[in-house]
């Protein structure tokens, strides 16, 4: 088992309380940053760490921070994106439930670096019980002088509060999150302007994922360079992976970037293999939006190299034979699962979650869902498979926000790798309603 920077104390009794958290080294980064560092220095450490956004896009956090506009006399905001809603992803929830103070600590240090005197945690409405946990922890932090006016005598003031959503995946998109936090429908905004220039209430704003903000704590405690020593290449540090599907031991794991996918799925420290002695059929390694991989591309790349848990290795082969690390929502399918059914299920999710603002997404996601529904239920035709490929090509890249791409990619990848299974649903309509297709054969040449 590798080093654990975020979840080191997740099983310590009472870690959700200020006192126990503090006894276990909590809030050291706040002391260090506010007493001995300048905001610029904190930013520098985060840049050195190579930390990349843990919400899914993988954009370097330090660079994102450096884009923040700083006009005189205009407030700046840090928003924590705790709208975790990507199917397969439940890591932020685990972190907030177990160690709420880690997020709060990260919020204070990050806000200090950004010069934000006010920050908000926007949490999905369904996590209302975690909102209670966070508010309790925030109240403790105020009481102990880590929030409020003149924190630790540093002259830095900071207020933090939590705002719930109301049930909308789209609010994980940063401008939709901002709209929602302004009390409106979660319609993503047109960009430019980007939030770094015009975000919450028209002010410069940074939106970061829960895990990204939490990672700032060890980065400041140990230094950015230390953090960057963990991992491989541009995939530095540790990553929370939420593993689910047909696994012996699903759950949230903190991994050092760079372990093999093989070890993660089958290793004793991690998921311990496919449940019920079954075979692996496919894997969606980074949340429902990323391309699905057939069993022969999960642990090895098309070039025959070991597939690693890094941004680069999971993307190796591009969309032809690779996928993405995404949010770390790792979904595993055993040999008895139906890819057509799952593709329909995901398509239904995106159709349900489309905000409906722009036409390709509003109409396209609903259309794909209906065609896939027919295919899954033995009512499809061969031309439907090509139609799906057509529709998703016309959604991709043509929408206001990435939800269109997120809806298109899984369908494209499923057809790319599992076309035989889709065709079987058309050719063997009755049979396909009685049993599942089983494992797909590895093509002769996959490169």
């Amino acid at each position: 088992m590798g080093r654990r920077l975020l979840l080191e104390h997740d099983n310590v009794a009472g870690i959700e309380t200020f006192d126990v958290y503090r006894k276990n080294g909590g809030y050291r980064s706040v002391e260090k940053a506010l007493k001995s560092m300048s905001p610029e220095l904190v930013l520098e450490e985060v840049q050195k760490s190579g930390l990349r956004g843990r919400g899914g896009a993988g954009f370097p956090t330090g660079m994102k921070w450096s884009f923040l506009a700083k006009p005189e006399g205009v407030p700046r905001y840090l928003l924590c994106n705790a709208d975790e809603s990507e199917p397969g992803t439940f890591k932020d929830r685990y972190l907030m439930e177990k160690i709420p103070h880690l997020l709060i600590e990260g919020m204070i240090v990050s806000s200090f670096a950004l010069g934000a005197n006010q920050s908000y945690i926007y949490i999905r409405g369904e996590y209302m019980w975690i909102l209670d946990i966070l508010e309790k922890a925030i109240a403790e932090a105020y009481e102990k002088g880590f929030l409020g006016k003149n924190i630790l005598g540093s002259g830095f003031d900071h207020d933090l509060s939590v705002a719930p959503g109301g049930g909308a995946y789209i609010c994980g998109e940063e401008t939709a999150l901002i709209e929602s936090l302004e009390g409106k429908r979660g319609n993503p905004r047109m960009k430019p302007p980007f939030p770094a220039v015009k975000g919450l209430y028209g002010c410069p704003t940074v939106v970061n994922n829960v895990e990204s903000i939490a990672a700032v704590v060890p980065i400041i405690n140990d230094g950015g360079e230390e953090y960057a020593k963990i991992g491989l290449g541009k995939s530095t540090g540790t990553k929370l992976i939420s593993a689910c599907g047909n696994l012996v031991r699903p759950g949230v794991y903190e991994i050092e970037m760079g372990i093999t996918v093989e070890e993660f799925i089958y290793g004793d420290d991690y998921c311990r293999g496919i449940a019920n002695g079954k075979k692996l059929k496919a894997c969606v390694p980074g949340g429902s939006s990323v391309p699905i991989l057939p069993h022969y591309l999960v642990t090895k790349t098309a070039a025959g190299e070991d597939r690693l848990m890094t941004y680069e290795s999971l993307a190796d082969g591009g969309f032809a034979s690779g996928s993405m690390l995404g949010s770390g929502g790792f979904i595993v399918f055993d040999e008895d699962q139906c890819i057509v059914r799952n593709t329909w299920n995901f398509a239904r999710f995106y159709a349900h979650e489309s905000c409906g603002q722009c036409s390709p997404c509003r109409e396209g996601t609903g259309w794909m869902e209906k065609v896939l529904n027919r295919l899954e239920h033995g009512q499809g035709n061969m031309r439907d498979i090509d139609l799906l490929a057509e529709i998703n090509k016309k959604i991709e890249g043509n929408t206001i926000c990435p939800l269109g791409d997120a809806a298109a990619w899984p369908v494209a990848a499923a057809i790319r790798h599992f076309r035989d299974e889709f065709e079987w649903h058309v050719n063997e309509r009755e049979e396909s309603q009685k049993r599942n297709y089983g494992l797909i054969r590895e093509p002769q040449s996959i490169a």
Binding site: A163, G166, P250, V252, H352
Partner: protein, 179 residues
């Protein structure tokens, strides 16, 4: 389909009004946002209003919330209909929202939905005859590793089996919150 998907014939007979205590809570929420930006508290106050006024948002409730925020009622309707957590029609005492998305489906959420439906003799979207339970489906609730699951109020019930569902229903019927 009519112009709206919601049965608007159901109304509150009296105007809902927050108690002084609740109103103080609302003021605390307003204070979390800069001056003139209290609309930021709208979603949270809608959750509160739903809880206070019968578990759903009637037109009367939404109009009252608009009054509290000093905004047009349509601004509240727009928000309330966008977010799926808000019930726009009356529900049973307990609302089961069973996750039906990919990872839960892989572990049998479809059969859990069917089982609850059969046991309570209702279809998805309906309320049991005794008014105790409403069955709904929901998209991914972030419990994929503990699938299948359902949410009831603030509570997540995970690792569901038919036996577990029986226990949960029995406990709620008896007025207890199942573990």
């Amino acid at each position: 389909m009519s112009s709206s998907h919601t049965d608007l014939s159901k109304r509150h007979s009296e105007k809902p009004v927050f108690s002084a205590e609740k109103m103080a809570e609302v003021q605390v929420l307003f204070a979390q946002y800069p001056e003139g930006k209290s609309k930021s508290a709208l979603i949270r106050v809608l959750h509160m209003a739903e809880e206070e006024f019968g578990g759903w948002l009637s037109i009367e409730t939404m109009d009252y919330v608009a009054e509290v925020f000093n905004i047009q009622p349509i601004e509240v309707y727009e928000v309330a209909t966008f977010y799926t957590m808000f019930n726009l029609e009356p529900t049973g005492k307990y609302v089961f929202e069973v996750c039906r998305t990919g990872p839960c489906m892989l572990l049998g959420s479809d059969s859990i939905i069917d089982y609850i439906g059969t046991k309570l003799d209702i279809k998805v979207g309906e309320t049991s005859a005794d008014g105790m339970f409403t069955l709904k489906t929901s998209e991914c609730l972030g419990a994929c590793g503990y699938a299948p699951m359902l949410q009831c109020g603030k509570k997540y019930h995970e690792h569901l089996t038919k036996e577990r569902v029986d226990e949960i229903i029995t406990a709620y019927r008896a007025g207890q919150t199942p573990n």
